[in-house]
């Protein structure tokens, strides 16, 4: 076993799980704002629940991608170039979504806010789906040749597994955001969040479970199977906590479901980082796709220092903004008029 590449595979898995956990509720909130919110007031309560933290959460994605580049350049190159179109859509979606969060409240017209609501909701949906496609492709395989290049057309990545992966992240994000809003807001948004989690979660968690099972059936180990069992148990516990009105427990439970299911997937695929559906000899593995030991060593020092620090100050951010947000906290929107003498 190669120690440093394995360590970096674990770090990248942790970064992806961290990203899905944290931005999962941001993306879900974006979708709920478009599809579930009844009025502008509810939308603002939802948005301000993630307001201080969403940007920091998104950096987990940038770090996961950057760490993959540094530690496994061949994985980075093959995965991203093979998934060219879906990732371009993810980027466009994330761009629109980020700008929407900042700009939607700064307009004057109904058209302006409707445009940005759509950008935020659809952007979140497309980003969640595309990220799911990407990770599912990386765990279930892509038609790549010996040079790591995609064989087949621009849609060669489109398989039942990748679609399940896309649905998995969308479904999880919707439930995760519902329990997040139940925990972080007050009033009708909180009630709606609890209701949504109760009614929809039994269906919404299925794609992620299916994805985990697909990977287990092809390369599962006893430990990874055990993690799948843990994830199912977490869903059951979360659902029952939700029924009993235990909002914190429900949130943690669905979060644990994600962590266990993704850990099961990553563990089962190890040591392959990107399987080739053409030939197992073209598989990218932790051994053949990684950087040299010196680079991995340097990056390990950086990660040892950096990741705990990130966890500490992001944790502190959640502590600072731990109060529930409700309609009464939201200041009135104000119109911006030119500071000129009217003629």
């Amino acid at each position: 076993m190669e120690i440093l590449p394995t360590v970096w595979f674990v770090i990248i898995a942790v970064l992806w799980i961290g990203y899905l956990f944290l931005e999962g509720f941001d993306l879900g909130v974006g979708m709920h704002m478009l599809f579930s919110a009844k009025n502008e007031n509810q939308r603002r309560v939802m948005l301000n629940a993630i307001g201080p933290v969403w940007d920091g959460n998104e950096v987990w994605l940038v770090t996961a991608i950057g760490a993959t580049f540094a530690a496994f350049p061949d994985w980075y190159a093959s995965l991203l170039s093979s998934l060219y179109l879906p990732l371009v859509f993810v980027l466009l979606a994330l761009i629109f979504r980020a700008v929407a969060i900042e700009y939607r409240g700064k307009g004057k017209s109904l058209r302006w806010s409707r445009f940005w609501n759509t950008a935020l909701g659809v952007g979140s949906l497309v980003a969640a789906f595309g990220i799911g496609v990407t990770l599912a492709a990386s765990t279930t395989g892509l038609p790549i040749d010996s040079n790591g290049d995609r064989v087949g057309g621009p849609l060669a990545w489109l398989t039942p597994s990748t679609i399940i992966g896309g649905l998995a992240v969308v479904g999880f994000s919707l439930v995760h955001a519902a329990t997040f809003l139940a925990l972080k807001t007050d009033g009708d948004v909180r009630l709606a969040g609890n209701r949504f989690a109760r009614r929809v979660s039994p269906i919404a968690v299925l794609p992620l479970l299916a994805w985990a099972l697909i990977v287990q059936f092809s390369s599962g180990s006893p430990v990874s199977w055990a993690l799948v069992v843990v994830s199912v148990a977490a869903v059951v516990a979360a659902w029952s906590a939700n029924r009993r009105g235990r909002e914190g427990l429900a949130f943690v439970g669905f979060g644990l479901f994600l962590v266990a299911a993704m850990a099961a997937i990553f563990l089962a695929q190890y040591p392959v980082v990107l399987p080739s559906t053409l030939s197992a000899s073209f598989d990218l593995t932790v051994a053949n796709a990684s950087s040299a030991p010196y680079t991995l060593g340097v990056m390990s020092v950086v990660a040892c220092f950096g990741i705990p620090l990130v966890l500490a100050y992001q944790g502190w951010t959640y502590w600072v903004f731990r109060a529930r947000v409700s309609a009464g906290h939201i200041p009135e929107a104000h119109a911006v008029e030119p500071a000129v003498r009217k003629a």
């Binding site: 350049p73 790591g148 600072v320 000129v340």
Partner: protein, 523 residues
Amino acid sequence: MHLDPLLIARWQFGITTVYHFWMVPLTIGLGPVVAGMQMRWHRTGDVRWYRMVKFWGKLYLINFIVGVATGLVQEFQFGLAWSEYAKFVGDVFGAPLAMEALLAFFVESTFLGLWIFGWNKLPKAIHVACLWLAIGGSILSAYFIIVANSWMQHPVGVVLVNGHPVMNDVWAVLTNNTAITAFTHTIFGSFGVGGAFLLGISWYHLWQRRRDGIDTVDATGRVVPGVAPGIPGRDGSDHSIWITSLRIGAVVAIVAFAGVAITGDAQGKLMFQQQPLKMAAAEAACHTGTSFSVLSVGKLGSTSCSDVVPIIEIPGLLSFLAKGNFTTTVEGVDQLLPQYQAKYGTNLPDNPIYGSRAGEKIDYLPMMEVTYWGFRMMIGFGGIAAFAAAVALWLTRKGTVPRSKGIMLLAVGGILAPFAANSAGWIFTEMGRQPFVVAPNPTGVDGLYMFTAAAVSPGVSAGEMLFSVIALTAVYAVLMVFEIRLLVRYVRGGIASAVPELAEPDHPDDDDHPKSDVLAFAY
């Protein structure tokens, strides 16, 4: 029609990166000024500083978000369109990118969120410290990105193993002399952007106040500030806010230009050693000599050296720029080209990695009209901005701006000059590195270089790239319209646009303590 993936990929990288680097310098240039204003407010308790923080901070955030959004593309596109490049350099190039994300971008995004929502929630000292940390994150982020870029300009800290660069000295990569000069040059260039932004917008407001008859001047030309009770924000502190902001902006722009000149000179001298052909092309210096060309013309569209006609030259200046004296001759294109051909070959190797370009003749001369004019626009626009800032200080010495609308429009339009200088500089240095994506280091490892023609993703079709370049360009154009519309709206709204209490008649003038538990800021 034959679509060339390489050409499309290069356009895509150019468009997305130049665009991203319109938001970044404003973020870097404006941030420290806002934080400095907030510290002044904390120290003096003077509400004028508070209002400046709110106003400039609002514009800072409107711009910041587009920089964040377009920065995402940067992290992905080496893998999307440049997979061969990513695989070739990944062992060393990926490290600074990952460090940027982990050590800089996290800090920037997290602490900016704390600053935005932390009003009245965090103790004042911690609140402003969050902004400083976010700014530090932005600057550190720029450093790591420039370390990565400088390695493409001047690869160091590696050995070649099986034809691939493998890092063996991260310290050499992080302290690459190319990176140190480029980083300082870029940061000063960013301050120039921030300074001109403050200056132009403050000028507009002072002019607006004069036009509306709020401010008048006495017999000696000194300003007599007034108030306009009917206009939110135009109260007793408004005039002083704008003249202070204007002077801060002008001083920042002038200091920035001095810094840009010093660091640019150091960078130029390095570049004459590291990439002599880039500098010769910047000069349209066909023959070995000592003169700096102020103006040369060639046939339209020509890329060869033979039909460049020098119009104005300053003897000795080129030697000074390159070597620090007036007599050492500097090698011209005609002398350098054969050296490059002898060292790196006359034709691209017959390797499938080059696709249809395999075996093609290599053109070592960068597109001269781009390098020549890019170099001159960078210096020209930068100089214009600094000169304008000095003139602005003099024109406003009696406390306000002239009533002339034309001068106001010049001051507002002048905001664009440092942006143009920044873009021109980057286009110059990136286009000047061609045909290499990793330029050979004359004193580094032999055989370590990569032609751009070998860097593109072999598995991605031209159609996919065409789609993405069109989609990204269209979306970026739309975002530009939105950003400018919002900036203009908030600028025109003046202080009241960022301090909404001023527009409410029942609690005028004050301030920073909301009455109930309503959030001080919410989306």
